[in-house]
């Protein structure tokens, strides 16, 4: 990574912090190269999009739009580690996918120390549900839907005996995760999952916008604007909290003595 050098000459009216730096970079490029290149806007928010099928251990045929977990997981590590990234916006429009990969992504998002806000646009179905609820705060567009259905009727399974018990366990993993990361109760989630009569091909429920909020699955109705506002608020709160923690620290006893002795 190249370090940006601070320009020798300062602008006549220096602005503060980030603004000043951008302005200085633009001025420098004008002076040095005779051209104005707008420095690329650096965002403090990393946007992660979860689209199409969440691809797991098998590569899906190319007609599928996929989100590849082997890319998303290092991305989350990089976002957590990169000091320029102060918050994550997770945008979901997914039809589900691999259970293992989906839960891995959801667990990773839930374990991040930086603020995370998720927005469900269009749909956050099946394994998209735990991914959506894994963020600190969640939004759903008014028209967006989430399909909650059992794993066993729409699953693909390879060479596993005792299929029924196995699928029950897989379902339990999803249920437990959703319960512990949202306000919905286990009973209500299972009720939605096994509800008969609403879906023609499968048993389960499709919840639309406000219904997901009323059931406690999602926190609020909203789109990108609301989500970014919430994320910026959380980033500011986190900064304030860390500034407070850094603030006046008690001086260790040994240091105090040493200073005292030195001064005497």
């Amino acid at each position: 990574m190249s370090e940006k050098t601070t320009p020798e000459t300062k602008a006549e009216q220096p602005a503060t912090g980030e603004e000043a730096r951008k302005q200085a970079a633009a001025t420098e490029s004008l002076v040095q190269l005779g051209q104005v290149s707008v420095p690329p806007a650096e965002s403090n928010v990393f946007c992660l999009t979860i689209i199409g099928q969440v691809e797991g251990h098998l590569m899906l045929p190319p007609q599928n739009k996929t989100t590849k977990y082997e890319h998303v997981i290092p991305q989350l590590v990089a976002a957590e580690q990169n000091p320029k990234v102060e918050g994550l916006l997770i945008v979901l429009n997914t039809v589900g996918g691999d259970v293992e990969a989906g839960l891995a992504i959801a667990e990773m998002i839930a374990s991040l120390s930086k603020p995370t806000v998720a927005v469900v646009l269009g749909g956050g179905h099946s394994i998209g549900v735990p991914i959506a609820v894994s963020a600190d705060y969640t939004f759903i567009a008014e028209t967006a839907t989430m399909t909650i259905h059992p794993i066993r009727l729409n699953g693909l399974i390879i060479g596993v005996p005792q299929t029924f018990e196995y699928l029950e366990k897989m379902q339990e993993r999803v249920t437990r995760f959703v319960k512990s990361h949202s306000r919905i109760s286990e009973e209500r989630f299972k009720e939605l999952m096994f509800k008969t009569g609403e879906l023609t091909r499968d048993i389960g429920t499709t919840v639309i916008g406000l219904e997901a909020v009323n059931d406690g699955l999602i926190d609020e109705i909203g789109g990108i604007g609301e989500a970014l506002k919430e994320l910026n608020k959380r980033i500011a709160e986190r900064k304030a909290a860390s500034n407070f923690a850094i603030g006046p620290q008690p001086v260790p006893a040994g240091v105090e003595t040493a200073i005292g002795e030195g001064g005497a």
């Binding site: 990574m1 990393f46 099928q53 797991g56 251990h57 098998l58 590569m59 899906l60 045929p61 190319p62 007609q63 599928n64 590849k68 082997e70 890319h71 290092p74 991305q75 590590v77 990089a78 976002a79 580690q81 990169n82 990234v85 039809v95 589900g96 996918g97 691999d98 259970v99 293992e100 989906g102 749909g123 179905h125 099946s126 394994i127 399909t147 259905h149 794993i151 729409n154 699953g155 693909l156 399974i157 390879i158 699928l167 897989m170 999803v174 091909r201 499968d202």
Partner: protein
């Protein structure tokens, strides 16, 4: 592997038997990448096998982006399907 999806499984797995096609693994600018070759020196990124962490935040190295590696790619090997597809479902 269990697919938990609201999309019909036959639509998802359609074309499975054709496989992902030939893939090549190249080492380029310090990264090992798995590419689906399009023409000599150009490939579509399937995944980053090993790369510096910050590369994952760079959209130009997102899966599906075009990689121009030229003809002087340091090491390149053709992969047999068994190398990247761990098991079969049928």
């Amino acid at each position: 592997m269990i697919l938990y999806t609201s999309m019909p499984i036959d639509r998802v797995m359609d074309g499975w038997e054709n496989g992902p096609g030939p893939l090549i693994e190249i080492e380029h600018t310090g990264m090992t990448m798995l590419l689906s070759p399009l023409s000599p020196g150009v490939g579509r990124l399937v995944r980053l096998v090993s790369a510096p962490l910050e590369t994952y935040l760079n959209p130009s190295y997102a899966p599906g982006s075009l990689i121009y590696y030229g003809t002087e790619a340091l090491s390149r090997r053709e992969l047999a399907p068994s190398d990247y597809q761990t098991s079969s479902i049928m």
